[in-house]
């Protein structure tokens, strides 16, 4: 393995040399962010190759307005909130689901399937599934919705914040951060969407998009492939994730998603409103749509004071540049969403970050 790493290192060095400037590569996915930190990948890269963490952690990019709707629903006696674990600690208006947990009905689930089961087990409650995530999780939500139809589970409601990766990449490049030279794209999303989904980024913006898995070697070889393209003045979509990623992706998963959902304009933390970037339930499934059932409109929310999650998610700053980082904002007491999720850039920097007072943090 070390041979291949050294080879990749040489390619990266040569690219930095020939371009004669800093190369900025964004890893779009939170799973990549964590893998990069855990494997100490930054320590083996050339100094002039900078990795930026992108808007790829579902909890992080979920707009504050959505969080506030969840918290509002948690207050209702007739609702039971079913949510993935990471979500319950995101702070919003008047607390978080965790702080409300003692009073309200909040259950942590591992899958949409579990949420549907909760609905069946609690017929007297409206079970609201907090559906966040990218293309990887959406098909499972769609399956749960179709099962709810088949089994007549009318008290199963979906509060959807499912998001699409490519519109966010477009928004970043066109409005927020022009300094991104290329994208390292997530393998598991590409298994569903197909690597062809990234072609528009290459065509419209001329930025290389390389799909890689989450093993350290793949990440490094992915970065080297990007460097090779940049130094040759090329921009291509390439997958080094192996045969599991095809150009077209998992058509069955795309079909079930398309059966239930359609793209709509949506709000993102840090990126604001992005056209056709969020998935909402189609009209024929509107009875499962929590917003419609409760007649709520989601409005963009406000970030906590001083929190710079927005800039972190756009790759404009590294978390330590936020003045709250490690001071008033820690995984114990997160101020913003990027410190809550284990895949969030702030949490990853906190957990694995640079040389600091190691051993002096108070252990719980």
């Amino acid at each position: 393995m070390l041979d291949r790493i050294h080879k990749a290192q040489r390619v990266m060095e040569a690219a930095c040399e020939s371009l004669g400037r800093q190369i900025n590569i964004m890893e779009v996915c939170g799973t990549h962010t964590v893998a990069i930190f855990r494997n100490g990948i930054k320590s083996v890269l050339p100094e002039r190759l900078k990795l930026l963490s992108g808007p790829g952690c579902p909890v992080c990019v979920t707009d504050q307005g959505y969080i506030d709707v969840v918290l509002q629903l948690a207050e209702r006696d007739d609702c039971l909130i079913a949510t993935y674990g990471d979500m319950i600690r995101v702070p919003g208006k008047g607390g978080s689901l965790e702080t409300k947990q003692s009073r309200a009905d909040v259950k942590v689930v591992l899958s949409s399937e579990d949420a549907l089961q909760l609905a069946k087990d609690n017929p007297e409650k409206k079970v609201v599934f907090v559906a966040v995530g990218f293309e990887t999780t959406t098909p499972a939500t769609a399956v749960a919705v179709t099962e709810a139809v088949e089994q007549g589970v009318d008290n199963f409601l979906v509060l959807t914040a499912h998001k699409l990766v490519v519109p966010a990449m477009r928004a970043l490049l066109s409005a927020k951060n022009d300094n991104i030279d290329a994208f390292l794209c997530p393998g598991h999303v590409s298994v569903i969407t197909g690597y062809g989904a990234f072609a528009e980024i290459v065509d419209d913006f001329g930025r290389p998009c390389v799909v890689a898995g989450f093993e350290a070697l793949q990440i490094i070889e992915g970065l080297a492939e990007i460097c090779r393209q940049l130094s040759e003045g090329k921009a291509e979509v390439t997958s080094i994730y192996g045969a599991v990623v095809t150009e077209k992706g998992n058509v069955a998963a795309q079909e079930i998603t398309a059966e239930c959902f359609e793209p709509a304009d949506g709000y993102w933390r840090g990126l604001g409103k992005i056209e056709k970037s969020t998935l909402r339930l189609k009209d024929k499934y509107s009875r499962f749509d929590a917003l419609k059932r409760f007649n709520i409109t989601e409005t963009p929310g406000e970030e906590a004071k001083g929190c710079r999650c927005g800039e972190v998610l756009c790759g404009l700053i590294d978390p330590p540049q936020c003045s709250l980082f490690e001071k008033s904002c820690t995984p114990e007491q997160p101020v913003g969403a990027c410190m809550v999720s284990s895949e969030g850039a702030c949490a990853a920097w906190f957990k694995y970050g640079g040389i600091r007072k190691s051993g002096h943090r108070v252990s719980g």
Partner: protein, 340 residues
Amino acid sequence: METNRHDRILLAHGGGGKLTDDLIRHHILPKLKNDTLAELGDSAKLNLTSEKICFTTDSYVVKPLFFNGGDIGKLAVCGTINDLAVAGSRPVALALSLIIEEGLEFELLEKILTSISRAAAKNNVNIVTGDTKTVEAGAAEKIFINTAGVGVRLPGVDLGCERIAPGDKIIINGTIGDHGMAIISQREGIKFESQLQSDCAGIGELTCKLLECSRGIRFMRDPTRGGLAATLNEISRDSGLSIEICEGEIPINPTVQTAADMLGFDVLAIANEGKFVAIVSPESADDCLEICRNHPLGADAGVIGQVVETRDVPTVELMTRIGGRRIVQMPYGRELPRIC
């Protein structure tokens, strides 16, 4: 027998009257029988071979009470034994306090007591004194256990962080993260939970053997809550020295790694209950390793890293498989409540 009329613990079982007496004489004593305990005095009288002793206590609130590879009873015995062992002593006697929630089934209590008795026998310690309290339903969760323990310090053995020097080697006696992942995956109901087994065990016999055979051991600690990451950070902080460990050398059961990845945990920060970290002089590392590997609780032992001079602040660094480096932070501790 009076208590036969009940199949659950009543609040009155802790009232100090006849029911308490029944509970102790008919349920607890028969399981934990030994001469000192049988006296039921206000204090146990111990005849120790030395005045130099180690003394420790710990409380156990693990959830669930029964898990793959152990239960709260075995944990309460082994955990305290291990604290004594890594301090350089031979564990000899334990005190056992049970805080029982009203309504606990006798059957469960018996199972836990059987397990306590087995663990004590296996590790050659006696339960010499104890106490039982009951609390109303809701005031505890089924049962909490406190154990305190006494160990006789091994002659000529003096362990301490101040003895650690750059160049010293770091040994662990086996795979890490097994206990924590067994518990958490059972709680989360993960599919392959049955393949995950806690490493819960008393390490006193092995540590005594090591200390008797080698004079090169500087310091030992059991990496329980906060796992290897917490223990190494404590050692680094207290010695003022830095530590480098090699990812490729750290023994990890692949299923534990998969489960941890799935749930987003760092195995380095996951609790162990049958492990010790030993900092040993470079000359003695090979001998120590061999002693470990010849013991059932050390079959997977390995030298995982070394102590180095501190450049800036004392730091624990991991050399990753790809030749990278990263800091191993002190875990912040909210990840796994009630792990022991």
